[in-house]
Amino acid sequence: MTDPVYRTDALIAEDIEAYLEKHRHKTMLRFITCGSVDDGKSTLIGRLLYDSKMIFEDQLASLESDSKKVGTQGQDIDFALLVDGLAAEREQGITIDVAYRFFSTENRKFIVADCPGHEQYTRNMVTGASTADLAVILIDARKGVLTQTRRHSFLCHQLGISNILLAVNKMDLVDYDQATFDAIVDEYRDFAQSIGISDFTAIPISGLAGDNITSASANTSWYAGEHLMQHLEGVEVRSEINQAKPFRMAVQWVNRPNLDFRGFSGQIATGVVRKGDSVRVLPSGKTSTVKSVVTLDGELDQAIAGQSVTICFDDEIDCSRGDVIAGADNPPEAADQFEATIVWMDDEDMIPGRAYWLQLGTQTVAATVQAPKYEINVNTMDQLAAKTLSLNSIGVAEVTTDRSIVFEPYTENRTLGGFVLIDKLTNRTVAAGMLHFSLRRAQNVHWQAVDITRDQHAAMKNQRARVVWFTGLSGSGKSTIANLVEKKLHRMNRHTFLLDGDNVRHGLNKDLGFTEADRIENIRRVGEVAKLMSDAGLIVITAFISPFRAERQMVRSMLLDGEFIEVFVDTPIEVAEERDVKGLYKKARSGELKNFTGIDSPYETPQNAEIRIDTTAMTPQEAADKIVDVLLGDG
């Protein structure tokens, strides 16, 4: 029994070339299935795979034996085992991670992202939704619209999936009752409108009995719409929609096989590019003309959204990885401050103010996230006050990047609007984000061009500007050595200034406490002040515990190469605690002082400090001499 939507074995057997020609011109639809636990998701996917002959006899045999061993359907086949491929999933009978499955009909190839339903796997659902053109939201006809239905619809809508298919499943268990179906559709419509979903298609189905899956069911004669496969085969796919948009391509790689060839390789995000088109390279804004669109199969007259190509220009303008090539007449914006929706995906909470890597298109920059404006309760859609975001939570926050990035709002362009955040130390992908718009102040606050440069400031003082950054535990000897360094430089007629941790907290930073977020902000402000002073040509000396590598790195990246000199005052905690100059260790040990570095708050040892001072082997004066030698040694 072969349904007409699936491949015709007759054609394969008779005329394989004709079949292949047909297969070659299939389009591809990526979709996601979501719904709550036990709504029949796995059964539906199992059926789609089975009907399209994507399950082979040997796989079916092992599925049958697995079903008897670890299945949840008694002696029947448990289709969930077909998609739950990890040992832990089979043991626990739940889906933990996204599985990608494949099947095809006569006209289209499909990639299904099968996503777990539980709230704790929100990040996996978001992962699956990010590449989908369509979402199948399954509802158990006996249960109606549930919390998970709402959560998944909301997430799919946030991720920009415009095709929503509401599959009201298990119709066989409610006697194919039209009133039940209509009531569910009405309830869903009210909810959908409330979160901004303007359109969806509802189909009454039974995954188990096969109603309205690949053919119209006689059991639902009251339903006149498309069956499931008809809808999946007919819906417009994203690549076609993206073609109608302006041309944008992020440069991945500069292709230079020899001196005569310089091409820019990338995958076209939106629009069409033709030989002879005027293009603009962003963020520089330089314009050029497309000389050729190069592929191994020959030069192309035009290339469209979704294609990976190499573009050559008429002239040698500057262009490298991270730049975006766009149509000359309507290029996208560049900015460094944004509002964005952020889905937090890491076990460790978001730390407002900490610098993370932000990857968008082929651009990678350092970025900080402010405390969220609000967090969204994904079950009720309520906006809640929040100080941070934890695993699987979604919020809206401001994001600041350390330099301008080329972007478009996510709703207009997924490629230039969707980003991930990466922890700088663990390298884990910690969040996904969707840009809304750039903040007005980023557009209106411009750098004021000044005539006297930082080099001129420094030249007048006969020195090169530097920031000497002392880091180490409380009581390690930072302030003592820093003071000696400044005295010595002063005697040598160098213009210096010492920024001391305690002193700054009496003024500039007196509003800050000692939580992790406040400590990060403390260092950020000190970094900015040190940078301004170095612009004035001074040798700035700072003495702060500055316990986190990420923040020391943040200050380093504000300055030019070679200007930031990290001095690690390496004193074992036992020695520092024994000295206990300010009596702070005693207080911390007794519990009077919270968040004390080395006791109940971590200290991250520098990995690439320019100078390391071992205070157990060197006097403060020897240390100061060594630092001044290094500092002035290279002019």
């Binding site: 394969i12 796989q59 292709n255 990857q359 990466i422």
Partner: protein, 304 residues
């Protein structure tokens, strides 16, 4: 007027994007080349991704010494055609101890392939390795990311994978850690065959039916690619029958089952593939180790 990309064009464009991301982000990438049909497609796509430059990384064959002779024949030629360097690694310990598929069962795969691969990656200091695996091959593969992060000891933790959104791939890692990259993740067996057909890609002749010397062993049908060597390790001469056979996948010849077939051209092979009722890995002995989670367990230990 819009033109539509066919699904093969979309798959190809996606694979190219993935390969370029690796080259842009990794320090020292390498492409694992096993001389099979998926490898052939991966190499072909690599040529397209970097044209007119040759692919900017070497090919690495982790050799078990038990591959079919026809595979060894095609190996160097494929690398030369692509303008790439070919590296071959054989685990010297496995060689000294004479590890073979007959006496050592799963140890053969572990020593030659898993340990061999780890040694090669460590020796050369590769931090990203392309592999031609597809998600439709096996159920734990269906759950694996395109960029599959491996610890310094090459372990895969299926429960702790980096979320992979849109077409953004995070290739950051600490020293010693590495990433396995699967640019053909979203291709199916039929896509591979069709692409080979359309693009006229050369593959090992063993995929096409011919009269070959075969013997039955452990319930399967195998080809006697090297009768003398077989006799040496099996302790007796295998009973050879000439049969018209071909292979759906290629690995070590004593571990890769042949299928009886008369499909001698690519269209015939595709036709047979489409009409078959068993999966392509059905003849692969190694998938059946350790129950249903055999491949997952191997991958956790560092297998591809």
């Amino acid at each position: 007027m819009t033109s539509k990309l066919t699904h093969l064009q979309r798959l190809e464009a996606e694979s190219i994007h993935i390969m370029r991301e690796v080259v842009a982000q990794a320090d020292k990438p390498v492409m694992l080349y096993s001389v099979g049909k998926d490898s052939a497609v991966m190499l072909h796509v690599a040529k397209k991704a970097f044209y007119p430059s040759p692919p900017p990384f070497p090919l690495l064959h982790v050799d078990t010494t038990w591959k079919f002779r026809a595979m060894y024949d095609l190996r160097q030629q494929a690398a030369d055609d692509a303008g790439m360097e070919l590296l071959v690694h054989q685990n010297s310990e496995a060689k000294e101890r004479g590890i073979n598929p007959f006496d050592h069962g799963p140890v053969h795969t572990d020593m030659w392939k898993t340990q061999g691969l780890k040694q090669a990656l460590d020796n050369y200091g590769f931090d990203a390795a392309f592999g031609g695996a597809r998600r439709d091959e096996e159920k734990s593969r269906a759950k694996e990311r395109v960029f599959s992060f491996r610890s310094a000891s090459h372990g895969w933790d299926p429960k702790n994978q980096r979320p992979e959104l849109w077409n953004l791939y995070n290739a950051r890692k600490a020293k010693g850690e590495s990433i396995r990259v699967f640019p053909l993740s979203n291709w199916t067996e039929l896509d591979i065959w069709q692409y080979i057909h359309l693009e006229n890609i050369e593959i090992v002749p063993l995929y096409f039916a011919a009269q070959r010397p075969t013997f039955e062993w452990d319930g399967g049908l195998f080809m006697a690619d090297d009768e003398e060597r077989l006799e040496r390790v099996m302790g007796k001469k295998p009973e050879i029958t000439m049969r018209s056979v071909r292979f759906r996948t290629l690995g070590c010849f004593p571990l890769t089952g042949a299928v009886e077939s008369t499909a001698a051209t690519l269209p015939e092979v595709i036709q047979e593939t489409l009409l078959t009722t068993t999966s392509e890995r059905q003849g692969r002995v190694i998938d059946k180790d350790a129950g249903g989670a055999g491949m997952e367990k191997k991958k956790q230990e560092g297998y591809f």
